[in-house]
Symmetry: D2
Subunit: 300 residues, 4 copies
């Protein structure tokens, strides 16, 4: 008999993820506050629920994809311990795919453990296109055993799952990765602009740096200068992709984590400042542009 | 009959480069102020000269590998136009492989053009090991024609030569690449330390980021955390490799270029500050360590 | 008849503050978890309490001086609404002098308002010496009326009280001020070191900048170079004064506030990174040194 | 009999300076390439010269106020030692008031010494208004004796002259001071914006910080938020005052000096990046605005 997955949060990312789980043969109990999202989930083969508690009832897996850590805590813990944790089946495995602070993951994970329920944090790498295509990667925090169990569902949404460590480690890995992404994207934009300002063609400079020690993912997959690379946001007016606002959210989590662990993050802080200055530059909110639009901030 | 290459500057890099040119069948007129370097060049098949003007006399190519732009200008231009430019054969091609400011390349290149002599700037990517092994890459600034001509010699020292643009463009490309390298090395060290400070194993985190959007050359070829990767400076007490002092020299050139072109380089500036703080931290000069030792600065 | 002040938190700062309130003629109900602090308070004329709820019972003012916002929330709100708020007299005015996030002030202030109790946040400017001497300044958030009422007690601890705005505004002002302090202290150390590295005497350079546009509080009251100014921490091995760890706490609050308000704080972020790098530099924790010891980080 | 001052460079600053020297009773030989500047100088009581060499002939003091170090070197040294140095009277004192790199001052100063001619570098603090009003301050590098001699002329242009050290020290002091000014101006703008973004009135916050440890010259004399302070550029659409482009020039000199002395200047570098980003933000060159317009960059 098919296993049941309760999926909470059918937004931009969650919609495609739930659909892929259903496609893989799971019974998906889909919950969201927005009716249109429920309708889309139903059309994709999920069973819609208008009550989250009913959605998780008896489910083998509970998967959440929510906007932030406060909401994740609210959903699982509730105000007076009346959150989903007290409605989840004892044998269920909770998989939180939301991007949250490690402290949120650890807080909810601890409460789950106290209630005898298995938990992993499993934030994703990849955007809406990858969510729809089933090509997400997952950075997982939890025990080896729960990690292996989670793979059964996660593999329906993408081929790559990595165990980063114990509960919270998935969130830490996501934050570290995205901070590093912000750093090399800003650095790549800056190096390309410095080259252009000194007379170089950005395509020629990109090709040289791709084969040299400056090489990085931003340069290879996501060149921020319009016209250098086809099929990337920079060649589509910075539409689509990974929004500046989402990068700022992740950089905010990195700042928070660094304060907690008393770590120095000068490059990540500088990147956060630049993306924030960019968002607010020129008198309009640029938060909805793809994050490679940071190139515009450097323009002379 | 074999063509003649005058090679000026037989230091750590130049020694291996001259040897590889000789090995490729060129007659190499080797010049250096240090006798031991001349002896080594002779042992490698070069013909030693104790006078630079005699070394360049009649040579088909003049190749310089010198410590900085002031010395390059001095060697070619001299005090009263008595530099090598007035002793080079009219048909010769000058190839300056030194890492210098674009302004130096353009200054010497202009003087060469005025004298009717062909010139390219061709700074290298790769360190002493690559110089010895003949696996350097070259970023070349000059006309298409001179670029093609230079390849005859450059290919003896490494398989990859890139034309970045006109005279000075090689120096610009080198500076942009190394600034970006400094940025992602510092960012990688910072992300790994943030992960470790939050309980992650650096090896696990490195593997995850290598397959995610944080991927970059520093993470892939040159992990800065001791013990994560074999055969890199971080696993050898940060000995060998590319010295902090050399990275600081290149970052200084990037600052200079950015001031000239009125470009904003916030990430490169932050990286320069970090490498400089690192050099001076803990009461001893760390300038001779490999640049991945920046990891030490972040250590909690 | 004398009014009663319940004073919660008799640490380094709170001890002197409670003593000055007692000296001004108030009946002070002093509470702390540490017996030695209670003994000292008693010696200074306060009435010691080993139960906070008893201490606030019937008090006209409740004043808290606690280590951080989580503790402040815990003390006033408790786990299940059993915090001090439910034990404070209806006519009492709560004055929280702790340095906390504006969000903490607003959270507790809102709960107080809901309970019909007056509240102001009133973080202090000045250190232990000022607390003992009764020369603190207070940045107050709350209504005009509550601000005026609070002055009755605050004036016992220092001559300067400023109303920054409504509840939470005191905490915002404190954070902004201390972020700016961190920025100009780091900038002053940096400018002095740049001067020294270029051959200038720090005393001569300080005197010039004091009379020029570089002038700032750090230069005027708190020169960070040993030997330039008498009676400041830099001339006493950076002992005493305002600890690096406390500055880092305030800068952490600034980062948190900036994330919440989506503000760009590039200079504050850079300062936070520098103080954090300084704390961890050289293999020992420098968090207990005075914050002007940032000068050491710059030393060549 | 009156002493003679040759004044080279009658631009925005130089015009007023030469006029004040004439007003003090010196015979002023004024030279500039622009006829309109010569006419204005003549109207102010100077004797106009269309040949610099004739202007300096026999002069007791030679004062230069030129755009940058390259021009200063060109004017004094010339191409083939045919600069003004070979035309200046042996007893003359050269006073260079231009803002240049310390290396320029030292280079020209050394050449002057070799020629047996006294030299001081004496860059100014204060803008066009101060130049006209005779209220400039001078930071002087040179021997005690030459400093005392220079005061005879300098005191005609402003009441404050400081000796910073030997030749070049005036330029170092100017650079350090202006770097620190840039740091606290950017920090002040940032702190005020953080406060405003968190609901504070900038006037109230400014008043609090003025009386607290955040106090600095930018806050006291030059508040960057429009409407807080009367008679400053921020309340006049950032017109007048000290231009962004001039601040960028000085920050470029600071970067250059720091590279030369291998000093870490993280705060100064961050400030330079911010002023450069500001200059280029929003699609128009903001270099001609007053530097306190950096406030606009922070605006949310």
């Amino acid at each position: 008999m098919s296993k049941t997955v309760a999926f909470i949060g059918l937004g931009n990312m969650g919609g495609g993820m739930a659909a892929n789980i259903a496609k893989a043969g799971f019974v998906v109990h889909a919950f969201d506050l927005v009716q249109a999202n429920l309708d889309a989930a139903q059309a994709a083969g999920c069973k819609p629920f208008t009550c989250a508690k009913e959605a998780v009832d008896g489910a083998d897996f509970v998967l959440t994809m929510l906007p932030n850590g406060a909401i994740v805590e609210q959903v699982y813990l509730g105000e007076n311990n009346d959150g989903l944790l007290s409605h989840v089946a004892p044998h269920a495995l909770i998989i939180d795919c939301s991007t949250v602070a490690p402290a949120n993951s650890r807080h909810v994970g601890k409460a789950a453990q106290d209630a005898g329920i298995a938990f992993v944090d499993a934030p994703v790498s990849g955007g809406v296109a990858a969510a729809n295509a089933g090509t997400l990667a997952f950075m997982v925090g939890g025990s080896e055993r729960n990690f292996e169990a989670a793979k059964e569902v996660l593999s329906a949404m993408g081929p790559n799952t990595f165990r980063a460590g114990d509960i919270g480690a998935g969130s830490v890995a996501k934050i570290c990765n995205n901070m590093l992404l912000a750093v090399h994207m800003a650095g790549t934009a800056e190096a390309l602009q410095l080259g252009m300002d000194n007379g170089l063609d950005p395509k020629a400079l990109s090709e040289i740096m791709l084969k040299s020690s400056g090489c990085n993912w931003s340069l290879e997959k996501y060149n921020p200068v319009p016209g250098v690379m086809d099929g990337v946001p920079s060649s589509n007016d910075y539409q689509g992709g990974f929004m500046v606002d989402l990068m700022l959210k992740d950089l905010g989590l990195a700042m928070e984590a660094s304060t907690g662990s008393k770590s120095s993050v000068p490059m990540g802080s500088a990147a956060r400042s630049l993306f924030n200055l960019h968002k607010n530059s020129g008198g309009e909110d640029k938060g909805a542009l793809d994050f490679s639009s940071i190139q515009q901030l450097y323009k002379n």
